[in-house]
Symmetry: C2
Subunit: 444 residues, 2 copies
């Protein structure tokens, strides 16, 4: 019998004590997973059986869509206990999803100090260093002696915070980091400022979360200290937050490539899903209608040599494919830092040469096919050269577009989507039909 069936049985029997004992064995992430198989009322009953801390952690693990539904039916009286029991960064995330009025009421009912922390965090934009940091950290002033530092460390019960010992000056500004190993090996009367490493890697609150993730990954950090504009230490981003960011950003990039976004999975109605996806489809659709109009313009050419029409889809399609490859290589390269804006020309040149090479091969194959189908060498030559030009142009456009968007500070990920494909479709079609029209007298 699986976990969900078991939970449902307990709920049907109304055996709260047994259910509470059963749930105790599970991690919040597992309980959040069980929610997928439960009715709305059952989810609420389950939450009320858990202690506040565990209920909060379960809420934190839920998908945004599911969570907002549950949050809307929790009263501020209950919510204040739940968010009061979890780390303030998680509390801020949850409260930013309820109505302003409800958030205010909830904050009023919480302990003052905790509420202030949460309110402070809610001021930061969600996808910045400030938005993902936790304001709990362990720091000592630079004048502290090593002996005093060791005593302070022993008193600190949250072990997770001890990955790094941050050192601040009298204004609370971050000025160094000391390793625990170093503390043990120097004399007890040394001051922290004498032994700390002043090259401490940190980020400001307004930095984008993608940049934060890049720093943590690059330097293999377990936590990154976050400072305000004045350099004052205000929090830290831990490596598990960074993992969430990495996955979020990768998913976002992938979804943007096909013209939707990661809200999609949390949308309940297909109307909402369709609304998310339609903008891209409509760009493609308009592109397709423009293509139809262009073909109508080359009516006479096509009527004279109907065989020309047979190769329109393959030329348009291959241009689209190559453009998508080039743009994706560049977009992902920019996202992971393997391509820097400084190397633009090298990347562009390489994509164009690769495109030309593949255009040569694909052009030859399709040209031979055209020749065999229709027994017309000229048709083969027209199809082959159109394919070659269309593919080379598509590679150039595909590589250039994300670099161009990035230099304008627009997210390059959208370049792999509809714009490049539609632009390349139309360009490929025009190249083909112009070439065909020029040679139409040899084709008839």
């Amino acid at each position: 019998m699986d976990k969900i069936t078991k939970v449902k049985q307990y709920l049907d029997r109304g055996d709260k004590t047994a259910l509470r004992n059963f749930l105790q064995k599970f991690h919040p992430a597992d309980i959040a997973f069980m929610f997928q198989g439960l009715e709305f009322e059952e989810k609420l009953s389950l939450l009320t059986l858990l202690n506040f801390e565990k209920a909060g952690s379960v809420l934190d693990e839920l998908d945004p869509g599911e969570r907002s539904e549950i949050l809307s039916s929790l009263k501020p009286e209950v919510l204040s206990h739940i968010v009061g029991a979890i780390p303030s960064d998680e509390a801020a995330d949850i409260l930013s999803e309820v109505s302003e009025e409800k958030a205010e009421k909830t904050l009023e009912l919480m302990e003052e100090e905790e509420a202030e922390d949460v309110e402070e965090l809610m001021k930061y934009a969600p996808e910045t260093a400030g938005g993902i940091m936790t304001p709990e950290f362990f720091s000592l002033s630079e004048g502290t002696t090593v002996d005093d530092a060791i005593i302070a460390l022993r008193a600190e019960e949250n072990v997770e915070m001890l990955s790094y010992l941050y050192v601040v000056d009298e204004g609370g500004r971050l000025c160094g980091v000391a390793s625990l190993k170093r503390l043990i090996t120097v004399e007890g009367s040394c001051r922290l400022k004498e032994i700390m490493n002043r090259n401490v890697i940190s980020a400001e609150t307004s930095i984008d979360q993608e940049e934060v993730a890049r720093l943590v990954r690059k330097y293999d950090l377990r936590a990154l200290p976050i400072v305000d504009e004045g350099g004052k230490l205000v929090g830290r981003v831990t490596v598990d937050d960074v993992m969430d960011v990495l996955e979020e950003e990768a998913t976002e990039d992938i979804y943007k490539m096909v013209g939707t976004d990661d809200e999609e999975l949390s949308k309940k109605s297909i109307l909402n899903v369709a609304r998310l996806r339609l903008p891209w489809l409509l760009i493609s659709l308009v592109g397709g209608i423009v293509s139809a109009r262009i073909m109508k313009g080359f009516n006479i050419t096509l009527e004279n040599v109907i065989a020309l029409a047979f190769f329109v889809p393959v030329i348009m399609g291959m241009g689209g494919n190559i453009g998508m490859q080039s743009s994706t290589i560049v977009v992902r390269g920019l996202a992971t830092g393997r391509i820097e804006l400084g190397h633009v020309w090298g990347v562009l040149f390489r994509e164009i040469r690769t495109g030309a090479l593949m255009g040569l091969i694909c052009g030859a194959v399709v040209g031979i096919a055209a020749h065999i189908f229709q027994g017309m060498a000229v048709l083969g030559a027209v199809v082959a050269s159109s394919m070659f030009i269309a593919i080379t142009v598509a590679a150039a456009v595909g590589a250039l577009m994300p670099l161009f968007l990035k230099s304008l500070k627009i997210d390059p990920a959208i370049a792999s989507g509809p714009f490049v494909t539609t632009a390349n479709d139309i360009t490929g079609l025009l190249i083909y039909l112009f070439l065909a029209t020029s040679f139409v007298k040899y084709l008839e």
Copy 2:
């Protein structure tokens, strides 16, 4: 003056001491980054200036393509010092990239104990838990008293290993985990087996690295203990290894969507890049040639009503787009665990309904356009209904394909690539041309 120019100056002047001092300030990741702007000989000179540990860390940070070039010109005598100075999991990664003969020679020259660790690790497949784990861990037997455990903890100098205290039985089998907090709050005479948590989350060495990453993310772990088939603790995977896995897997999925892979950026020649990308392009190309052949088969219909040809690209293209959207949503959902194989029918049904809705809208738009272009209501109706059917089928195929591949244990990511698009292109074309032929007498 930027860092790279400065390094080049020092090298030109041959001022080794100054360069060594300059490099000391930088993190290995920064030095690896500088390599991008240096010539091959300069890279080698730089490496020899660093101490072995730092040189090893720089090697570990380099891109695989760049690294293999450097490794091929390092002699076993030097290599043995470098890999001997870094953690054995990194050493194993590096040695698995050199020739078997060279790896053996290098291992012979290393300290015996270290060499054994590395050799042991090299046995595991690279993308498994065993392949990414580090064999250094901290564990105590279940009979240890709390007092003795605290003494052992104090003696341990590698602080990073103290995230978790793993408890093993007399056979070295992992049987629990104890928190440091718990140690401090219970009596010193307690034994670990009385206070440890027996629900310890672990993974076997043969588990895929993607699964390891999922466990670490789901439970917000800082390290995951790895056991052999007998349950014996043999290593642990830390959260920074998991970040690399997450990024690797996301990049792999994205590149697979467009028919290439992440080796691409480390390939030097465009011939090699083209060879990577061509298989996908050739599938598309063959699909395109098949489409041309199909259109030739419907020759008479198209010659009678040339306007039908104008709408072939838009119908094929929109089917391809929707299929790509559906398959991508499902592929990424499976990768992040938001879609489980158990919910297959719900997902499929939802994609089909969404597809039908969007097909209705796109069909109406293109149908009206066709009617306006040609002044033929029947053409509009044929185009609109073909588009509707083609899009609905494409959504179903797109959603079904990755689920089907996953159930066969094939990586579903390839489903977003050429197969689905090509299949949908041909299906859409056939639907359109059959419908058009049935109504051709009303179209002439």
